[in-house]
Symmetry: C2
Subunit: 243 residues, 2 copies
């Protein structure tokens, strides 16, 4: 893990960019740290530069509540090399959506499953590096999307103690079975009229999770309309489980 830049934001938060095996990432930590902070891994749909304003806002909010926050770029997004198969699946998805047709399961599988396969080991490697830093103590939460990455991480890595998942992306059917094996506390955000997400599929997915403690927060509006107060609700969820 190589830190490539460091700056102090106006609220005192320390923001550091890093690379890890050529994967870019960002780490946000409290301005002054007396004890190692629990960590929130911030998921996103890919494209760190484009997502930066929203990610940084979420991260600073979390750091204000005593957490550290970190994220890395997804495979095939941002400055990272594209995958032809993924680009093809993305184009097929766009075409289906523009035609107003239901999206074939096989398109979603082609788009999401290879992404999960390649991204999850990278997030785990980032976790190894981040937990080795003296400012970060664990436990660890995962917050955001891609929800399938969050599901796989929750199943595959016992260091993830709680997850706030955004039911805002297409989910391969096979992830339903994987969801049954998730047992950590979950808070799941659902936008009731999400144009990128089937509501019934999202409710089925919520139902499938094996976690004894899981809470669904459904709000009105489309994909990008998550209300600001869910930031607070998310921090409270993580405070209950990571502190």
């Amino acid at each position: 893990m190589l830190f490539t830049s460091e700056r102090r934001l106006d609220d005192g938060v320390l923001e550091r960019e890093f690379t890890l095996d050529e994967i870019p990432g960002v780490l946000w930590t409290p301005g002054s740290v007396s004890t190692p902070a629990p960590l929130i891994l911030m998921g996103h749909p890919g494209g760190l530069d484009m997502m930066y304003p929203r990610l940084a806002a979420r991260a600073r909010h979390a750091v204000g509540e005593g957490f550290a926050a970190a994220t890395i770029e997804l495979p095939g997004s941002g400055v990272r090399p594209r995958f032809a198969a993924t680009e093809q699946a993305r184009a097929d998805l766009r075409r289906a959506l523009e035609a107003g047709k239901p999206v074939d399961d096989e398109i979603i599988d082609r788009l999401v499953l290879p992404l999960v396969e390649s991204a999850v080991p990278e997030w785990q490697a980032a976790l190894d590096a981040l937990l080795a830093l003296p400012v970060i103590g664990g436990p660890v939460g995962f917050s955001g999307g891609v929800i399938s990455i969050g599901i796989r991480l929750a199943v595959a890595d016992s260091r993830i103690s709680a997850a706030l998942l955004f039911a805002g992306s297409f989910v391969p059917r096979s992830m339903l079975d994987e969801a049954r094996r998730v047992t950590i506390p979950l808070q799941v955000l659902l936008q009731w009229d999400d144009e990128w997400n089937d509501r019934h599929m999202a409710l089925d997915l919520f139902d499938a999770f094996g976690s004894p403690e899981k809470t669904l927060h459904a709000n009105m509006g489309g994909h990008t309309g998550v209300p600001e107060f869910e930031g607070d609700a998310g921090n409270r969820f993580f405070a209950r489980h990571l502190k």
Copy 2:
């Protein structure tokens, strides 16, 4: 409104019992009041004495956050005279549930609609009396069940500014139309495996509400299993809308 008893609880909260046209009620207010407090009307399924421990806990939590809280007995419950037709409907409902059969809509109509008709004017009269007290300033929220009473109140009384509704009771189909006319901010609690409540009906009801701001909080477990953290979430919801 006649106050019949007054005591100070160990957290300083002032608890006063009252009667209003022979309807018993309870009012909880902060120990010391500098400015009039916003009011939360605490709904319940009927039977104040039996419900007292849970209601008092919710009320004290709310008062700790700067609200006043009040409740009154429902028609046909607790010390109030029974209605033969309601008792018959309740017996029919019990029989259907014990037989494991789906509950006929007409049983739910017979049970709930007359209750809503008679209860809502009583809650409005209580509101008249409570808002005349110098310690209470408004605005007003409704919190709890019976959800059909909350819906009717939200439609019929413009003094209700926000409602936290518990989707934990049988709801007449006609209330779906009434729900479309609700426009105040809502937070709706749903117990995912509520033995008294059909999940799909509850989701349809949530979908029907006309409110531009509505949030569903679905948690695991049965009817009485609402997690403690929802008390906090409820107070935050009311703080956003009543303060």
